[in-house]
Symmetry: none
Subunit: 214 residues, 4 copies
DNA sequence: AATGAATGAGAATTCATTCAT
DNA sequence: TATGAATGAATTCTCATTCAT
């Protein structure tokens, strides 16, 4: 229970949830991420949560409502640090070298990812099928992060630390590499043993210098 | 109809399919990739295919059967060139430089991807939920490709063209970058205008030299 | 609010109702008469009344209880004047001519009908399905009115003002004509413009002399 | 079964209905007319019809669909004779006297009414709550009949057989009297003994000459 | 007295699958 | 081989009613 409790707190820190509501959320996250949204029945969630099926619908008008109420707050969490911290730190010269910025970014995104992994899985699964989600994701998340990252990139380009290339391409390549790492690490091969510090270092080095021998 | 016909031919080149079977497959691919496997009803597929509901079950014992019969052949297509061509070409010194190999790889994978995009989407969507699929994919595809690629990497490393790093990490980083490109190009932002040759070149350069200014 | 307040006063003049109770009654009348008893949910009534769902059941043990508590007092109102006034007035020679009696009857029934129209609708709707209601209605209302009216009819027949015909038939024909008028006027075509005085006159004339040309 | 079979034939003479469909219709008519549309559950209908609940929804997309498919054809039956027969007979001088026309009208409407009484009940019950029904009824039935009747009335007025009064009022008074009779006869007091010929005669006489003593 | 969360039975509807034709 | 009516279990959702606060 403690881990799920944590997840809930992470996601719904401000909102007041009744005890049953929490149980419903936990059960729903578990089932959705294990079997997918469509393949999960509300009766199953109710049983797992130990509540009556009607109780679910008292709190969430529809099944989709439940899904959105779980996934939507994740979005905020995902953009959090970009909005608040990183950008300023770059400007404040806290991350003088690109490497430092990348490392820090990977590290703090990894934490969120681990804690909210099941919800992230749900989000990834459902984005293609839920227009509301997709829109929210692209408008609020992808775009914002992209803009923010583009600015940061331009900053480093002006300092002569990054090659001249349209910021969008730079962003795509860098983000892709980072997500590729996190995805391999936590989704595709979580069962393998990973030396996280080493792989992070490698990923950063890769992004900076590629795979070719100098 | 011609495009779907093409897809079908690509996927089922050896097998004999009746006319109705083809229609069912086409309809199923369309629906599965649009709404997901679980959210698609067989009656919907039947309607779209213009056949009776019973006809589907004459050809495919269950709904999952239908899914597997669509997705399984894709796997073979995905590993095709690695098995047959590329490796030998590398050994034959056809791709003397890593860059050439990467470029060729990206190019011919892109073609398959475009033609079979809907089926690829279905595969990606369902891998997490269908143990048979996951197993098939990991054992037959991911592992094979990884092994093959590792060998190729070692070859280039021995020739002093790639940095010294465990081949798995090299593979991960390279594959991730390529898939990241293809994924951005065809799944996330197909609506943007892409200069494919340029972006391929950039991706290759990125893999080789990274983003840092020399 | 004032019109509903009026309706409530009309229906529950003697009883003490709390503020919430009044709101519940008003909301229930509105919903029942708009959508029918079965198709109206208690939660809907609660919302419309601005009270908690539980509050309804504090005052009315069941939903049907609520219905009966609304409809039952209407019955008393419906027979009111027959019991109290009209009959005596006829005996007292206040209505010497049948025409005067009919006119007065139509007029004062019309008032009640307008004020309590929504409740009348509910009664009409539910009589076929609620045995308690039907029984109450037939035993206490229909029969009483019929008896009373029969006496009046006999009175006028004895005075030679009405044709010789079994009083039940006379009653049926007369009542039918009056109700037919009120029903057309207020239920079927309330949106048409009606010259009430003229139509009342026509109805009375029709009852007395029919449609044939003398 | 024979009586219901008859009703079905009356209502759906042209359409091809499967055996189960007929059973569903019969069961639905029975239940709807006994308990009302909203208070009848589809599972109840299924049980009564001896079919699986799913079977109902194979033939009728929704419960309301079922209702409409039962009630809609009634409308056609209701206006039938006015459209086809009566009017022409009047013009053809078959009904030279108003009395004859009235008598014939009452008689043939009574037959339809008896055979389709349960469906008529459903129609009356649901018209206030189903806008589609209401509209259909007013536009297609009420209006048509009214127009037709108005013409007939004018015809008799010109022949000097009916008093001068706006045809709408004449129609209202006459129709009201006829329906009042049929309603009393079949809906309100079917349990009483009725001498139909006598009461029809009385109703006709009433319409022509009223209740006053000449 | 009033609330509103919780319930569980039951509502309408969907769905994968079967089977007689 | 193909059909599509039929099924009955399961699904989402509603609702009257209860009860702790």
């Amino acid at each position: 229970m403690s881990e799920e409790e944590l997840m809930i707190q992470q996601l719904f820190n401000e909102e007041k949830l009744t005890d049953k509501q929490k149980k419903i959320i936990v059960a729903a996250i578990e089932s959705f991420s294990e079997k997918g949204y469509s393949a999960t029945s509300t009766s199953e969630i109710a049983k797992k949560a130990g509540v009556a099926e009607g109780t679910i619908f008292r709190h969430y008008k529809t099944k989709k409502d439940l899904l959105l109420s779980i996934v939507a707050p994740l979005m905020t969490k995902l953009i959090g640090p970009f909005v608040v911290n990183d950008f300023n730190k770059v400007l404040d010269r806290k991350y003088d070298r690109v490497e430092d910025f990348l490392k820090a970014t990977i590290e703090n995104r990894r934490e969120v990812l681990i804690k909210l992994l099941p919800v992230v899985k749900i989000l990834l699964q459902e984005i293609p099928f839920q227009p509301e989600l997709r829109e929210q994701f692209f408008e609020q998340i992808a775009k914002k992060i992209f803009d923010r990252v583009s600015l940061i990139i331009k900053g480093y380009q002006e300092k002569g630390e990054l090659i001249e290339m349209p910021p969008e391409s730079v962003a795509r390549l860098a983000i892709t590499s980072i997500l590729g790492y996190l995805f391999s690490r936590y989704v595709l091969f979580p069962q393998l043993e990973w030396d996280d510090e080493l792989e992070t270092e490698r990923t950063v080095q890769f992004i900076m210098h590629g795979l070719g021998k100098k």
